[in-house]
C-alpha cells in the first residue's frame, strides 16, 4: 500500500504525527464541504456523519505512514466518497433510489437570470431535466459548480481522468441547452441583431 501524506495547501495546517490539533483543524476546515458533498451523495445525515468520522479516524491511525503530498480537499472528498459508497452497500441501501436522489439540483432556488414567470417556468423545467441526467454527470456538475473544485480535483475524487470529467460536464450542458429551444431562437435573433449592428458599424 502506497503511503499518503496530507499536507494543507496553505501550509499552515500541516498534519504531522502526534499533532492532534492539526488533524482537528483540518477537520474543522473541511467539515462543511465534506458534509455537503456526503449529504448530496447519500441523503442520509447520520450515515454521512459516521463516514466523515471514519475518514478522519483512519487518517489519525495512519498518521505515521502518510507521505506523498496531494491536494487535501480532494483527497478527503475522495476518501469520503469511497467510505459512503461502501457504507451504503453494507447497509444494503437501494442502489436505484440512492442514484436517483444523489446530487439533485435545488428546484426551490431560482437562478439570478429569472426575471418573470416565463423565466421561472423555464428554469423549473430545465432543473427537472437536470435531475434526470445520469448520476455521474450530476456529480461532476456538483463538484465543478457547487464545490468550486478544479477539473483535476474532481477527477481525483471521481477516480477518472480529467478529460472524462470535462466530458461529463460538457455532455450535461449540451443536453440542457438543446432543450432550451424557444429561447435559443430568441437569443440567436438577438445575436443576429447584434451582428447586423456591428456589420453596419464596420461597413457603412
Amino acid at each position: 500500500m502506497q503511503p499518503t501524506k496530507v499536507d494543507d495547501t496553505d501550509g499552515q495546517n500541516t498534519f504531522r504525527d502526534g499533532d492532534d490539533e492539526a488533524l482537528l483543524r483540518l477537520y474543522r476546515q473541511h467539515l462543511s464541504a465534506l458534509y455537503n458533498y456526503g449529504y448530496n451523495l447519500a441523503r442520509d445525515r447520520s450515515l454521512v456523519e459516521d463516514a466523515i468520522q471514519d475518514v478522519f479516524l483512519y487518517l489519525y491511525q495512519h498518521r505515521d505512514g502518510v507521505e506523498t503530498a496531494q491536494n487535501v480537499r480532494a483527497y478527503l472528498m475522495q476518501s469520503l466518497r469511497h467510505r459512503i459508497l461502501h457504507l451504503l452497500k453494507s447497509r444494503s441501501a437501494s442502489q436505484e433510489l440512492t442514484e436517483a436522489n444523489a446530487f439533485l439540483v435545488d428546484t426551490t432556488q431560482e437562478p439570478a437570470w429569472v426575471r418573470d414567470e416565463a423565466d421561472a417556468e423555464r428554469s423549473r423545467r430545465l432543473k427537472h431535466l437536470l435531475n434526470q441526467l445520469p448520476k455521474r454527470q450530476r456529480e461532476a456538475l456538483y463538484l465543478i459548480y457547487f464545490g468550486q473544485l478544479s477539473y483535476v480535483e474532481a477527477a481525483q475524487i471521481m477516480q477518472v481522468d480529467v478529460k472524462s470529467v470535462y466530458n461529463l460536464v460538457y455532455k450535461a450542458l449540451t443536453t440542457i441547452r438543446q432543450t432550451t429551444g424557444v429561447t435559443d431562437w430568441l437569443l440567436v435573433s438577438a445575436g443576429l441583431g447584434l451582428f447586423a449592428e456591428s456589420f453596419q458599424k464596420n461597413f457603412s
Binding site: D20, R45, E49, V105, P111, T174, R177, L187
Partner: protein, 355 residues
C-alpha cells in the same frame, strides 16, 4: 486566467470554464474588468455569454448546514475516538484500509478493500466496545448576577461571568490538548503547559476558536457576537471568515454571525485598554461612550433584567467606571447621572424614561 482573445466555440465551452463559473457565481472588480474586455472584443460574444450564464445559473445544489451544537457534538465525538485510539493500551492499530490510497485498482483489489473494510468496522466496533472509557463532560453554569472562579485540571483559572456556561471534556490527563466551550463571557488565565508540543489550549466560542499557549484574555459570546480581548501573551483566532488572525496584547477582535453581512464586515479589529473589558471581575463596568441602548443589553445579559429605553433616550451615552455589585444600586446611579426616571413595572420590566 484566460487572455481576452480566447475563443469559445459553444456556450457549453464557456459555461464549463472554471474562470467563467467563478465570475458568474462570485464577480469581483478584477474579473468584471477581465470579462468585460473579453465581451467587447466581439459583439457576438454577448450571445455566448448569456447562454452560458443561464446554464451556470441553473446549477444550484442543495446546501446543508450544520448548526453549532451539531458541529460541536460531532467534533467532540471524533476527539473522543481519537483519545481512545491514542491510549497506550491499544494493541496494534487497525491495519485494514478504509480509504483508497492508490488511484487505479487492479482487478480483485476492490473486493479486498471491501472485505477489509467490513473487517475494520467489526474490529473497530469490538475494540470500542472493549474500551468504553467515555470521559464525562463537565459543565459550569452561572446564574444572573453571579460570577464563578473555576480551576481547570491544568491549574489554569477561568472566571465565568454571569449568565454563562463553560463546558469541558474531563480527560485532560490523557489528552495533550486542552479545550473548553464557552457561551457567555469569561476571563481566562491560562498556564503554559511545559514541555509538550501540542499543549495548545482552545476556547470554542461560537464559530470562533481561540488557540493559546499561556496567556490572559477575555471572551464574550452573546447574541451571535463573539468578542476576544487579549491582555497578555498571544492567541490565534480560527474559524473567522477572513482567515486565521493572531492577536497581541491590547487587541480586540469582534466577530458577528449576522446573516447577510459580507464576510469582511463581520470581523472588526481594534486597539483597546484590555483592563476595561475585564473590570467585571471586580464587579465593575468601564463604560466608554456606551449608549443606554447598549447598557440595556448588558443589563439583560448580566442580570436578566428586561430594560426598556424610551427611544429618545436610547442614544444617550455614558463614560466612566460603575459598580455592578447590585443591579438596583447601578440603576439608581444611572438615574442620577443621566437625570432620567427609572422605574420597575408590575411585570418586572425596567422602564427608562425622561424625567
Amino acid at each position: 486566467m484566460l487572455s481576452p482573445s480566447t475563443n469559445y466555440r459553444t456556450p457549453e465551452e464557456l459555461a464549463a470554464d472554471p474562470a467563467f463559473i467563478r465570475w458568474v457565481q462570485d464577480p469581483t472588480p478584477a474579473t468584471d474588468a477581465h470579462w468585460q474586455r473579453w465581451l467587447e472584443a466581439d459583439a457576438l460574444r454577448l450571445v455566448l455569454e448569456q447562454q452560458a450564464r443561464q446554464l451556470v445559473g441553473l446549477l444550484q445544489f442543495q446546501s446543508v448546514s450544520l448548526d453549532l451544537a451539531n458541529r460541536r457534538g460531532l467534533e467532540a465525538k471524533l476527539r473522543q475516538k481519537m483519545v481512545e485510539i491514542a491510549l497506550p493500551t491499544v494493541g496494534s492499530a487497525l491495519e485494514a484500509p478504509v480509504l483508497p490510497l492508490r488511484p487505479r485498482t487492479a482487478p480483485g483489489w476492490m473486493a479486498y478493500i471491501a472485505a477489509a473494510s467490513v473487517m475494520a468496522v467489526l474490529l473497530t466496533g469490538f475494540w470500542f466496545w472493549q474500551h468504553r472509557t467515555i470521559a464525562p463532560d463537565r459543565t459550569y453554569t452561572t446564574a444572573y448576577g453571579q460570577t464563578q472562579r473555576i480551576e481547570l485540571p491544568d491549574q489554569s483559572i477561568v472566571t465565568l461571568n454571569a449568565n454563562s456556561r463553560l463546558r469541558l471534556v474531563e480527560n485532560w490527563t490523557n489528552n495533550a490538548t486542552r479545550e473548553v466551550w464557552l457561551d457567555g463571557e469569561a476571563f481566562f488565565d491560562i498556564r503554559k503547559k511545559p514541555g509538550t508540543k501540542a499543549a495548545q489550549f482552545t476556547v470554542h466560542s461560537g464559530r470562533v476558536h481561540v488557540g493559546v499557549l499561556g496567556t490572559t484574555f477575555n471572551v464574550t459570546q452573546r447574541r451571535g457576537t463573539t468578542q476576544v480581548v487579549l491582555s497578555t501573551g498571544s492567541v490565534r483566532l480560527e474559524g473567522l471568515p477572513t482567515g486565521t488572525q493572531f492577536m497581541t496584547p491590547g487587541d480586540r477582535v469582534v466577530y458577528r454571525e449576522t446573516a447577510g453581512l459580507p464576510d469582511d464586515r463581520r470581523v472588526e479589529r481594534s486597539r483597546v485598554n484590555p483592563a476595561n473589558y475585564m473590570a467585571w471581575q471586580q464587579r465593575e463596568w468601564v463604560l466608554d461612550n456606551t449608549s443606554l441602548e447598549e447598557i440595556a443589553t448588558m443589563l439583560n445579559d448580566q442580570f436578566g433584567l428586561m430594560v426598556l429605553v424610551n427611544p429618545p433616550l436610547s442614544e444617550r451615552r455614558l463614560s466612566g467606571r460603575m459598580s455592578i455589585e447590585s443591579p438596583d444600586v447601578f440603576l439608581e446611579n444611572l438615574s442620577t447621572i443621566l437625570g432620567v426616571s427609572i422605574r420597575r413595572t408590575a411585570t418586572n420590566q425596567i422602564l427608562i424614561q425622561p424625567q
